[in-house]
Symmetry: C2
Subunit: 254 residues, 2 copies
């Protein structure tokens, strides 16, 4: 079965999150025969019923063949359509009070890093993640699981040309911040609070492609005493530095 | 072969790092028969020769049986003694200008998170990582690989009682900072620059154990719009916030 990892999502939280946010994506839910229904499984059952989604009790072992590793299904597998991506144009049309913040991933091919960064970006309250068609890992079940279902909480913009999309962002008053080992400024030395911005993270091996770097308004570095940071750790540090600055500037009551 | 994952390290960077920092740990190096020697493999070869470590050219497939997944050996496997842990007492005896900063892991059982946090802690220039004998994943080849060899760059303190070790740290003028969802203060609202401190990170599922929480001098939270952050992302954010504060206070020229 080709590309089968795109078509199954497993684990209580990921399945529950899709049911909550994006039930149209689900074709059918499979629950392990004879399993005890804990609260989470009961909720999945109820939500599926409300959304008229069929549940089949079965032996989930048969789904092992669709995955490279034998995953821990936690008793539930859902057959789904791939994540509904959003177009950049549609994202730009969304009205928002205040500034928009997005993360752009250039060449992140490891599904663990991809899932981890999407989870952190959602956690920090950013507005979207943008990935490239060609130069990024696809949003598979593994990515979805590692993101802890966050792929359904934050819009994922998919683009066929990062370069053209970045031009379009700039036309719409976004500032582009690229991370680069050789940058002069530390990531905490720029002010994230008064602009729409797109933070570009590159792959650990190759970094950000030159075309993209040339389009950046700022480059920032993240110092390290031992090699570079893992890209998902680096993303977490910079994303939360932006959040910290914004939190300090805008007290919660506003 | 029991605990075999403790005894093999694979991948060019991890093997190279041990050769550089801790060659005594290596019993023997195995290199894939017929592989092209790139610069990294040549360096491994030279360092092994200098340290009188035997190299055997062989088919590395035979090592698959020692690992749950089939890892990418990158052409090199080393048979090693487990990481040399350091005692807390010995760590406390190490003289240092300025304050010491360590990370304590309470119940981190996922080897990916363990490796990622050790890597970040080393990258931020912290002084040690402390793990518990009972409540933490062991430092296996998987952890070593994910840490990108950082387990050889930063002392790993192993303790049989986190609780007793934290008492000892406090007697030696360390302040204990615990992360907790319910804390009042944000992680960036405390001053990391004027004290020895130990940052305690708990497991995602269970958090920090109550005994340890009760011993903490501060508890801090990390806000999230979507579930909690992954523990290795949260660790990166807080560790680098401490580093940021210290960098700002002590310009590099000092």
């Amino acid at each position: 079965m080709q590309n089968s990892e795109n078509n199954y999502v497993y684990g209580k939280n990921p399945v529950f999150e899709i049911l909550l946010k994006n039930p149209k994506r689900i074709n059918k839910i499979y629950i392990q025969k004879g399993i005890f229904y804990d609260n989470r499984l009961k909720k999945i059952n109820d939500l599926a019923f409300q959304n008229k989604i069929q549940i089949q009790q079965t032996n989930l072992q048969k789904f092992y063949e669709y995955f490279e590793e034998k995953p821990n299904f936690q008793g539930v597998v859902a057959s789904v359509c791939p994540v509904e991506y959003i177009n950049l144009e549609d994202f730009l049309d969304i009205k928002k009070d205040g500034f928009k913040k997005i993360v752009i991933l250039d060449g992140i091919v490891d599904p663990h890093n991809l899932g981890a960064i999407i989870r952190t970006t959602a956690a920090a309250g950013f507005d979207a993640v943008m990935v490239s068609n060609h130069r990024c890992a696809p949003i598979t079940a593994v990515v979805e699981k590692i993101s802890s279902g966050a792929v359904n909480h934050i819009p994922i913009i998919k683009t066929t040309s990062l370069s053209a999309s970045i031009e379009l962002l700039k036309k719409h008053d976004f500032w582009v911040i690229a991370t680069q080992m050789e940058a002069k400024d530390n990531y905490y030395e720029i002010d994230y609070t008064d602009m729409n911005f797109a933070l570009v993270m590159g792959s650990e091996g190759k970094g950000i492609s030159k075309t993209i770097l040339n389009k950046a308004d700022f480059t920032v570095k993240l110092e390290s005493d031992f090699e570079s940071l893992n890209v998902s750790a680096a993303a977490a540090v910079i994303i939360y530095e932006a959040k910290r600055q914004i939190n300090i500037k805008q007290p919660k009551s506003l």
